[in-house]
Symmetry: C2
């Protein structure tokens, strides 16, 4: 089961390109992102995903940008092609997210074909920019320049700038190419001339530009970008969107000012992109009060509006958060983009506070809310991530689980969002502070903290998340004392660290080894991945009487294709008191299947003589059904063989 430790020890100094963090290492945070080139996944679980993303998905993504007219929209706006705009008003953003992903990948390792795509797409985008810096090809073609910024609630102009800026910063940081940055700075100049106190004071319907502006400031030092971010954030929640005649301010995260928000609500991606921007502002302004509010908001979200997978948003109507504890698994919306957005927010809070619970959440969300959104092949995507698919389910819209993953969507926000997340994943594993290196996520690779003129560099070898052993080798260390911190996940019932000083038991949280470390030294962390059944809080009615099965950081699911008997997983009943057996599989890129003891509850009687289905409790049969064994696989891997009945929450005897 355990993959062999990687023998490829990448040396940062031999590369000309480098990965660079989505949040600048220069931000005034407690834990710093690693500098460009200092975070590298080189093998193991995530590397496989990154390779497929790089070698297949990014190239197919380029083809989709052509097929769906995304690039043509820019060409038509530039006047180099005839035609009409295609796609939703925010379609430019697909190209920007794809470009951001490409930049991270070129940073990981140069690739002439990708670089050529990057340059040509960037040139196409640049050609569409209006003389005064305005850029939104669909809006230019559909509504003209005259109507710009007249429908901020729906027209996504600021949203698209946000993705443009993020792509530009990634391109500049990772590839040294400033072409998109130049487009962005022209747009920033233009925005500064339009928006601000006493000028245009409208509020955009879809937050996103705020965190992008802060990052643009971090990368370029342009203080007006930070000021504009602050202005836009402070403008929210004062009725500007309502003033446009739209009743539901909640949907737009515009019901209350950001400082007064006590719960995430409305459209989940909007709410979470906004929260990420607020975190960035709190960090840059050193606003401790706002940061504390953010921590409370995040905690309330975890306690009341988060699926066991870390998935976000339960309502199909408005792709939105529901009321507290409204978290039914069958209609879970849990948009892939919302999982990504939650990771972005948690990452900023981890950097700002150093509290390891954010790293715990990032781990859960990456494996169970983001990764299920992409097929093992890397090329098909779930927009919506249901936690249950029943037999006899019937699709009425393209994004329903019963349709399986799709190669692209009319609203194609998710695919390139997955691409940029996978391409930048190296950066979420570790941070640095003045004393040393913190490892938050375990992946095979090399992470380096710069400590003045010295460095602490650690190579990690592990079969994680399927195996619990993490081997660390010090590649480089300061002459004096340094601090190497390792996260023991909250789910790990026990953990053991073995190093030259012996073996010690560790509890959950960040454990710091503070001593002189020497190059070549090895340490081994052993996490307890043992399968466990978890229950939902009392108020989470939809999962009452059921348990979820987890192993290590992975949430598991029953999928019909793995069951050997005729019983449907619809009728599963498990015994959480019985031992769980582990079965490593070759299939699904290698996972550890779990066999749990239980019963198949009798399938319901459905005929004209069937009694009314709600029966007196006293009349309910005590027999749980036929004994059987149910096989579970990691939830992220479902729907890769066939699309059939699946469930994450397992009805449990005695639960």
């Amino acid at each position: 089961m355990t993959s062999a430790p990687s023998t490829a020890t990448a040396s940062p100094t031999t590369r000309t390109a480098w990965t660079a963090p989505p949040v600048a290492p220069t931000a005034p945070v407690r834990l710093r992102p690693l500098a460009p080139g200092d975070a590298r996944i080189t093998g193991g679980f995530w590397s496989v995903r990154q390779q497929r993303n790089r070698s297949v998905a990014l190239r197919e993504g380029h083809a989709k940008l052509e097929e769906f007219g995304t690039l043509d929209n820019f060409r038509i706006a530039a006047g180099t092609r005839e035609g009409e705009a295609r796609g939703p008003i925010f379609q430019d953003s697909d190209a920007y997210k794809w470009l951001e992903a490409v930049a991270f990948e070129i940073g990981r390792e140069d690739d002439p074909e990708l670089r050529e795509m990057q340059e040509s797409v960037t040139a196409v985008i640049a050609s569409a920019q209006a003389e005064d810096g305005y850029l939104n090809s669909v809006h230019q073609l559909r509504h003209g320049l005259e109507e710009r910024y007249t429908n901020l609630a729906w027209n996504h102009e600021l949203y698209c700038y946000g993705h443009l800026f993020q792509a530009a910063v990634a391109q500049s940081r990772c590839t040294g190419d400033d072409a998109l940055l130049e487009v962005s700075l022209r747009a920033l100049d233009h925005l500064g001339s339009v928006f601000g106190p006493g000028r245009h004071e409208g509020v955009a319907g879809h937050p996103e530009i705020e965190m992008a502006l802060v990052e643009l400031y971090r990368h370029t030092g342009r203080r007006d970008a930070l000021d504009l971010a602050r202005f836009l954030l402070e403008r929210r929640g004062h009725g500007a969107i309502l003033a446009e005649g739209i009743r539901d301010a909640t949907y737009f995260s515009d019901r209350v000012p950001v400082r007064e928000a006590r719960t995430v609500e409305g459209h989940a991606v909007r709410a979470l992109y906004l929260a990420s921007g607020v975190a960035d502002l709190a960090i840059e302004d050193g606003d401790e009060e706002l940061l504390r509010r953010q921590e409370e908001l995040f905690a309330t979200m975890l306690a009341t509006k988060t699926y066991v997978t870390g998935g976000m948003g339960s309502r199909w109507e408005g792709e939105a958060y529901g009321d507290p504890y409204e978290l039914g698994p069958d209609r879970a919306y849990a948009e892939t983009c919302a999982g990504i957005a939650a990771v972005q927010w948690a990452w900023r809070l981890l950097l700002a506070t150093g509290r390891e619970q954010y790293a715990d959440f990032i781990e859960r969300a990456l494996y169970n809310a983001v990764l299920p959104g992409v097929s093992l092949s890397g090329t098909e995507y779930f927009y919506v991530n249901a936690l249950q698919l029943r037999s006899q389910a019937h699709a009425t819209t393209a994004t329903q689980a019963v349709n399986g993953r799709g190669a692209w969507f009319d609203c194609a926000c998710c695919p390139p969002n997955v691409m940029r997340t996978l391409a930048s994943l190296d950066q979420y594993a570790a941070t640095a502070d003045a004393e040393g290196l913190q490892l938050h996520q375990y992946a095979e690779g090399v992470w380096t903290a710069r400590l003045g003129e010295e460095a602490l560099s650690v190579e990690v070898a592990t079969g994680y998340p399927h195996a619990g052993q993490v081997r660390l080798r010090i590649l480089e260390a300061p002459a004096g004392e340094a601090a190497l911190s390792l996260r023991v996940p909250a789910w790990s019932a026990s953990a053991e660290l073995e190093d030259r000083e012996g073996t010690q038991q560790l509890g959950p949280g960040l454990h710091t080894i503070r001593r002189v470390l020497v190059a070549g030294e090895e340490l081994t962390l052993r996490l307890d991945l043992g399968a466990r059944f978890v229950g939902a809080p009392h108020r989470l009615d939809a999962s009452r009487g059921a348990v979820a099965l987890e192993r290590g950081p992975l949430v598991y699911a029953l999928e019909q294709v793995d069951q050997t008997g005729p019983a449907l997983v619809d009728d599963a009943l498990v015994d959480p008191a019985a031992p769980v057996a582990e079965h490593p599989l070759e299939d699904l890129d290698g996972v550890v299947a779990l066999d749990v003891a239980g019963w198949a509850s009798p399938a319901p009687q459905v005929d004209v003589d069937a009694p009314w289905p709600y029966r007196p409790v006293s009349a309910t049969a005590a027999v749980p059904g036929a004994p059987c064994t149910w096989r579970a696989i990691p939830y992220y891997a479902w729907a890769n063989r066939e699309v059939g009945p699946m469930r994450v929450w397992l009805p449990a005897a005695g639960a």
Copy 2:
């Protein structure tokens, strides 16, 4: 607790007006509806609702038809007023449903003011009819006559004719006024010239006209109406709506032909109006195969897609049925109109088959799926009937439970649908066949079966549904043997019938007393209303580990306003093994409150140090919380004092 038996013995022969059934007594059914004037509610539970409907709601409804422009639309179309059409494309139907209710009420007892309203509204409608018989004021004003029937999927023209025909038949039957019938027959002539094999073969997006055409045939003998109904029904499910470029045929109940349908799906009201039309066709054509399919379809609906209340449709998206067992109480859509539509379908199947389970369903749906849709005052309506409202719920749309009931809606289908249902309720209580009278529902009043030249007439006195004793007095009986049948509801654990021959125990189902009955004779039926806890089927995941509390035909709910302690009903946990105490209340028009023993589960911890909310089962505290007593009231009565936390499904210890 028991209301005094009514002493008013109405004599059908002294009235000039009469209630008349929505389904004609002439239909070739196994059980016949009673003839006009032979069904009368005279007191008790439903009489109170009918009086409020008559004296307040119908008059406020007329004011709303003016306020929302419904009548003005007709006036503008007629050229007697200037202006633009207001409201949705189907807004004419609000006037028709209101007129139908008024006709039933005038039939119950004449009222000069209502009759004047009826005549003036009918005249306004008639004035808008186009020369060739076409009528849809909103369509005439918005799209003109040229574009008629070009967008059958969305423009609701046939749907509106359906409601016109139903109102016209009710008006003609109950009030003797044929003015609206003349409008309808002109429209029928027009429809016959447009639709049919080889002519227009499109399929309407919203079924409704089908059952109306059958009834128009029954009332007038116009065979072309029946033929058109058959044509329209047989056309469904062959891709006609798809051909208009609309992908989701499911929404329109147009995915499969009606003879092949194996599950109700899509928009619930559409599916159920369609099913009612299919039942009517099966009845008129003597199509036993189709009728059997209908019975299977209904049974599948009950087994897999029906809430414990009888409510229909769980999805907010598309106001639709979900997948089988997708019946989460918190987001229950359970549209009031869908409950009404289900009663209409069940009524037809009861008539056609004589199977008492349809009467059982009608009872459940009337008390628990339709009645909750209207306030005790009779003037405010729920469009959507959630089965749970949590604390901290937040409204984003007008129809969410947290907003309480509303006086009218932009899409005002439900209010006049409730009005016509309450006004015609007398008719759903009893049927006749060649041998006698069948009492299916228990309400105070008089029901008469005509048996050749003779009659069997029974007066009922009862405090039902709050009291279980039903006293029957024979007012008139044939000289020879006759059959009086009484339904013992499936929920009644025991029932006792006392008559001159002694006392006997009855099991559930229709019990027939076949002997010589004499005027003045009394019989007493005693049903066991005893409170009972019921559980959901295994596959209904959202209600697992919870029980519903019922008493007699009523489903109960916990409402926060009734709880004496500080605990929220969000945290309720009940003990279904403990005895339930009954407490008659003056409040809420007199109900029997139920006190159940249980606990208040500890309120969740929500702060920045709260642990991840999904905890290992082994770590879950076994303590169920603080012991307390929870008070429940009938679900239909909720949200009449204040709108606060409410729940129908009660988490249960040991469930």
